[in-house]
């Protein structure tokens, strides 16, 4: 498959008062054309920081300190602010978890929608508004014309997320990054939004990078899944392979801790004990060791590499993967 977005050996560091921390290390994947990759993990796993590094939105304190990110072979890391602004919202766009706070409360929907279209597609005020309206209709908003004049507070969460999607898709991006797009929504609205994303993906051929902590959403949406823990990729596989034959204990934990309707009522849920360590307290060896039921001596001493178990299934675990060394030592091509 043609690679649209490549993230190679990326490490992200942030300056803090107590020195530098690296909330993301060893993140490595590529997103193919029309493909949906889900990045899964708890808060603190580094999944959101990874997307912000792709968007160049790490802020003043953060930077990609190792590795590179490229779009269609063009390296994004190291681009000037001006060059990045031509890519953001145009080639790569993003939607967020809380649509209510992601839209500016004092500007109309129409303004926020058309300013992006004008900026990237060079259209005039009128044409941009017409395009924006058409885009709102495309995402299933019937009263598009009056919604253009509304302010965000007047709309429901589900409507606002549709507006965000209309905005994100308005310049026909190659990559759509969706950071927990349905976590704040009701299940019924979640189902509508997920379906809309699938339709648009088919229609525009967009590749989607979906960030979520909900394995059920992954099951519904993803072609491939990347599981992150403590700032690094711990498992990557085709979605069917991952659900049926996962090899990392953390992936197993994420899958089993969700209560499924009608199954195992009397039993206790298989919760993963404890929580993700902070970047400055990351243990030597395997980062999951303190929460793992199968921890061995080796796990406490040596940091496991990401190994290829065949057919694109990669695992970072001493217990379950005996395959050949994967991309870990692969260097930059």
């Amino acid at each position: 498959m043609e690679a649209v977005l490549e993230v190679r050996q990326v490490q992200v560091t942030f300056k803090t008062e107590k020195g530098e921390i690296a909330p993301v290390e060893n993140v490595d994947f590529q997103l193919g054309k029309g493909e949906t990759i889900a990045i899964v993990g708890e808060s603190g796993s580094g999944k959101s920081v990874t997307t912000l590094s792709i968007m160049g939105l790490l802020g003043k304190a953060g930077r990609v300190s190792r590795g590179y990110i490229s779009l269609h072979g063009r390296e994004l890391t190291g681009l000037s602010a001006k060059e990045l602004n031509r890519i953001r919202g145009n080639d790569i766009s993003m939607i967020f978890q809380e649509p209510m706070s992601a839209l500016n409360p004092v500007l109309t929907i129409g303004h926020q929608l058309s300013e992006q279209i004008r900026k990237h597609r060079g259209l005039g005020r009128k044409e941009a508004r017409a395009e924006g309206e058409a885009m709102l209709r495309r995402v299933g908003i019937a009263r598009a014309e009056s919604i253009m004049r509304e302010y965000p507070f007047a709309l429901s969460g589900g409507m606002l997320q549709r507006v965000m999607i209309a905005m994100a898709m308005s310049c026909n991006p190659k990559v759509l990054i969706a950071d927990e797009p349905t976590t704040a929504l009701d299940v019924t609205i979640q189902a509508q939004i997920l379906r809309l994303m699938k339709e648009l993906k088919k229609e525009f051929g967009t590749s989607i990078l979906l960030i979520t902590h909900d394995m059920n959403v992954v099951a519904e949406m993803a072609d491939r899944v990347i599981v992150m823990y403590g700032g690094e990729v711990v498992e990557e596989a085709d979605v069917f392979q991952l659900f049926d034959h996962h090899r990392h204990p953390y992936t197993k934990g994420l899958l089993e801790c969700i209560p499924q309707i009608g199954s195992g009522k009397g039993e206790r849920l298989a919760a993963i004990p404890g929580s993700v360590p902070l970047p400055q307290h990351m243990p030597r060896g395997c980062r999951f060791q303190d929460r793992c039921a199968h921890v061995m001596d080796k796990c406490r001493e040596q940091h496991p590499p990401l190994k290829d178990a065949g057919k694109g299934h990669k695992v970072r675990c001493w217990l379950t993967c005996e395959g050949k060394e994967g991309e870990e030592n692969g260097g930059t091509p």
């Binding site: 602010a81 953001r88 919202g89 993003m94 706070s101 839209l103 004092v106 992006q116 007047a154």
Partner: protein
């Protein structure tokens, strides 16, 4: 919105009535009375009583109040006890100078404070931020009369850059340039306190907005930092600042009383101090009424501006 305005104005009427009554009582409770201010040893008690009767101050306080209220509603503010001129004329001559002083100092305060506050927030914890913070505390905490006297000593007496006081140079033609020359020092000094607190408000308001999700969205859309700050951030940051403008007006009134006294500015503040000295009840009441109306009007204007800036209020959803 129109309903809301009407309701606010209707509410203001009893509030004003309450304020005038309260003021009237306090003024009358103060020891001394206007007649005592100009008795001389040769006046007999009968003369004094006659004088009191002529002024109407031998009646019970409430009767005096309602008499004043009744006349005031017909546009008659009475005569000054000290200059014997109509109060409307005495006070009317003073409104202009006070408005000039307050207006220009309010304007100055914002011209100084808004850019400094924004810069201070955008460069948080830089030397610029720290010095802005220090100066704003100085501005707030040094009393106006100290700054005024210090300013007169340095700029008027030592360096002779500005006049020591007054509004125009005596005996010269009243020109705009001359007015400006007299205005700069009192206006700047009156502005310091407002500017000091305003810098803090602007800074914290901008800081809060800079952390909002919608700015991340604006950046993710590929908008330039200039548009992100000036279009998306500032409009939101200004909403809370607008409220503070309204709160500033009563503070400025208080400040103006002192500053006018120090600089001999012929405004209402100066007149007020003189009238208190001579127990000139009608003049005092008129000044108080104007101050109260001004404060209420400022609050109302603030609410209108607030509503205009925040669409959620404009459309009555909050």
């Amino acid at each position: 919105m129109l309903n809301y305005l009407l309701r606010r104005i209707l509410i203001a009427i009893p509030v004003l009535a309450g304020i005038t009554l309260f003021n009237f009582l306090i003024i009358n409770m103060a020891p001394g009375n206007p007649v005592e201010m100009f008795i001389n040893p040769s006046m007999s008690q009968a003369d004094i009583d006659l004088r009191k009767e002529q002024l109407g101050i031998d009646d019970p306080v409430f009767i005096q109040y309602f008499r004043w209220l009744g006349n005031m509603l017909q546009g008659d503010f009475g005569y000054s006890y000290s200059s014997y001129e109509p109060v409307a004329k005495v006070v009317g001559a003073r409104i202009g100078p006070t408005l000039i002083l307050m207006g220009s100092s309010l304007l100055l305060a914002y011209i100084i404070a808004v850019p400094i506050g924004i810069l201070s927030a955008r460069k948080q914890y830089s030397w610029l931020d720290y010095s802005a913070t220090s100066f704003s505390f100085l501005g707030v905490s040094i009393p106006n009369f100290i700054l005024g006297l210090g300013g007169i000593y340095l700029f008027a007496l030592t360096w002779k850059l500005f006049p020591t006081g007054g509004m125009y140079t005596l005996g010269k033609e009243k020109t705009f340039g001359d007015l400006l020359h007299h205005l700069i020092m009192p206006a700047l000094i009156l502005a310091t306190a407002s500017a000091g607190s305003m810098v803090r408000y602007v800074r914290s308001s901008v800081l809060e907005v800079l952390g909002q999700d919608y700015l991340r969205t604006a950046r993710a859309k590929g908008l330039s930092e200039f548009v992100v700050i000036n279009k998306h951030a500032l409009r939101n940051a200004m909403i809370p600042i607008i409220t503070v403008v309204g709160l500033d007006v009563p503070l400025l009134f208080g400040g103006a009383v002192i500053t006018e006294q120090v600089f001999g500015w012929p405004g209402m503040g100066q007149l007020m101090i003189q009238s208190i000295g001579s127990r000139d009840y009608p003049t005092l009441m008129a000044i108080n009424l104007i101050a109260a109306v001004a404060v209420l009007a400022a609050n109302l204007l603030t609410d209108i501006a607030y509503a205009a800036a925040d669409p959620a209020i404009k459309y009555g959803k909050r």
